[in-house]
């Protein structure tokens, strides 16, 4: 369970460029929740994910994951509990290292890295099985450098890496935004499969309203650094894009909502 309590974050405080990205944000995720997150540019979606991941330190408030207060924990320590896939396909993998080496690195997330062999024969077999789930033929290219893969293949691999050691929380930061529609659909499908199979608690930022409605059991919309709309269960299942926009303009109390969302 993830509890974000009254979290605020201002970038460049005290300057003309001061920007309040998170503004008294409260959000609780129950175990097994698959939450899609939408909102306009600057609504604080990525900042929220980065705050949870520890890439940025929050000003006030607390972040509690499964009973542990991780608010001040450095990024590399939180990594033990978190799986992450970034928007940029280059970000989540080491391009100059082999597919199996990348997987082995991810497989030891949260464990002490010792002077034991980096990859064992048993590891290899395990990775081949896991790669088959992606259905991209990567299982036949275990020793290929990741830099040779396409963006979609890299994102799929990053997704697998993020979930190889079952994370307590999976964070997906627009992980299909940089892909062409066909590849994006494939990666999303793989996401759905992996999340369901492992019953992962997941937060997925997306700019695609339809995806936000289709995937997950809960949808939140952010506005101005806090959660403006929170829909789940049956209500979410029957949501339409039009309804979503209406909900949003009601919550934010302005008409510019549609533009802000649609143009982003």
């Amino acid at each position: 369970m993830l509890e974000i309590k009254n979290v605020s974050k201002t970038f460049n405080p005290g300057t003309v460029n001061a920007k309040t990205a998170l503004n008294g944000l409260n959000l609780t995720l129950n175990d097994g929740d698959f939450v899609t997150v939408i909102g306009g540019n600057g609504a604080g979606k990525s900042t929220m994910l980065n705050a949870v991941a520890g890439t940025i330190q929050v000003d006030t408030g607390s972040i509690v994951l499964d009973g542990r207060d991780i608010t001040r924990l450095p990024e590399f320590k939180r990594a033990a509990y978190l799986g992450r896939v970034f928007q940029d396909p280059m970000m989540g993998t080491a391009a100059t290292m082999q597919i199996e080496e990348n997987l082995a690195l991810a497989d030891r997330r949260g464990q002490r890295r010792t002077l034991k062999k980096g990859i064992t024969a048993a590891d290899r077999e395990h990775y081949i099985e896991q790669l088959k789930i992606l259905d991209l033929g990567l299982e036949n290219r275990m020793t290929a450098k990741v830099g040779l893969l396409s963006g979609g293949q890299r994102q799929a691999l990053t997704l697998l890496m993020a979930t190889l050691q079952k994370p307590e929380l999976l964070l997906l930061d627009e992980h299909t935004a940089a892909l062409d529609p066909k590849t994006a659909a494939k990666v999303l499908e793989a996401t759905q499969r992996i999340v369901e199979k492992n019953n992962l608690t997941t937060m997925m930022i997306t700019h695609n309203m339809r995806d936000a409605i289709t995937y997950g059991n809960r949808l939140i919309m952010m506005y101005d650094g806090h959660v403006a709309v929170d829909v789940s269960g049956e209500e979410k299942k029957h949501l339409t894009v039009e309804q979503l926009l209406e909900l949003f303009s009601k919550a934010s109390g302005s008409d510019e909502a549609d533009d802000k969302l649609l143009l982003s």
Binding site: E75, M91, G92, E101, L105, R113, L115
Partner: protein, 305 residues
């Protein structure tokens, strides 16, 4: 005449190239694996020489003195690492600061003298210039080759371990490494320590080889190290893909560098112009990948992403 004198100088060039090759492997670790330009090495090379020679003059066993040089080199690397990762100083500047400080430290170690000799007649040196053309076990090429083989073996093993892979990942993509739970502040520091330990070991062997340690022996060392790394890559990069072979290529690069140096010296290059020559060679080899790319693009080929 030219060829006979060149042949005469060849064993020396090979031996020197191999000893510098150890230093170049250190540079390879920071420059290529960690993706950090570390200038500490200009100082830690002389530190290694100073520690080794002074210890031996005080009666220390030569192998133990080499080990101590390695450890002190690691300490120098640690200082650069801490300045960089804990104090937020850019790596290149952190290295320059340590290097500058080491100049004073080296003079202290050397008893405030800028040069300290060690006589091959009085001490049992591991490597010495004097025997470079001798066909015996005293020939410095033998310990040089053995040391290199052992070092490359250890490094090959280390970078294949869980920890070593984490170090490589740090160099390949720091953010990814963090997201995988690697404390990159530690891995970068460990990499710098390992690198400077090797550089100091190289300095220690070089000082023994020359029969003296000089406080200026490390000046421009980084450029020679880079030259070795890049010459090795340009000439052998296509053939040598295995990690151990890549390290061999670095050593071969260093040997080639010293051979070329011998040739140009035989051709009458003024020794005062050596540094200029070295810098020019490195600049040339560093530019090759860029030029190759632009030529390929102009021809309408696809730029290698």
């Amino acid at each position: 005449m030219f060829f006979s004198s060149l042949l005469n100088a060849a064993p020396g060039a090979v031996a020197q190239g191999m000893l510098w090759g150890i230093m170049a492997i250190g540079v390879y670790i920071t420059y290529r694996i960690l993706d950090v330009a570390d200038l500490t090495v200009d100082g830690s090379l002389a530190t290694g020489g100073a520690v080794c020679i002074m210890l031996m003059r005080a009666g220390c066993n030569p192998w133990l003195a080499l080990l101590c040089a390695f450890l002190v080199g690691m300490l120098a690397g640690m200082i650069t690492g801490l300045l960089h990762t804990r104090c937020g100083i850019p790596a290149i500047l952190a290295g320059i600061l340590t290097q500058l400080a080491l100049y004073s430290v080296n003079l202290r170690i050397m008893g405030s003298k800028s040069n300290q000799p060690i006589s091959v007649d009085k001490y049992n040196l591991v490597v010495s210039q004097r025997f470079v053309k001798e066909l015996s076990l005293r020939n410095p090429l033998i310990p040089a080759i053995v040391t290199l083989a052992v070092l490359i073996g250890i490094l090959y093993w280390f970078f294949g371990t869980e920890y070593g892979s984490g170090l490589r990942a740090t160099g390949a993509n720091r953010r990814m490494a963090s997201a995988q739970g690697i404390d990159t502040r530690v891995t970068v520091t460990v990499g710098l320590m390992l690198s400077n330990g090797l550089v100091a070991l190289s300095g220690a062997l070089l000082a023994q080889y020359q029969g003296a340690v000089d406080v200026n022996m490390g000046r421009g060392a980084i450029v020679i190290g880079l030259a070795a790394v890049i010459i090795g890559e340009v000439l052998l990069g296509k053939v040598f893909r295995n990690f151990a072979l890549k390290l061999c290529a670095v050593v071969i690069g260093a040997v080639i560098y010293y051979m070329v140096l011998q040739i140009v010296l035989q051709l009458g290059l003024n020794t005062n112009d050596l540094k200029l020559f070295t810098a020019a060679i490195v600049a040339l080899f560093l530019s090759i990948p860029c030029w190759k790319d632009s030529v390929r693009t102009k021809k309408g080929g696809v730029r290698n992403a």
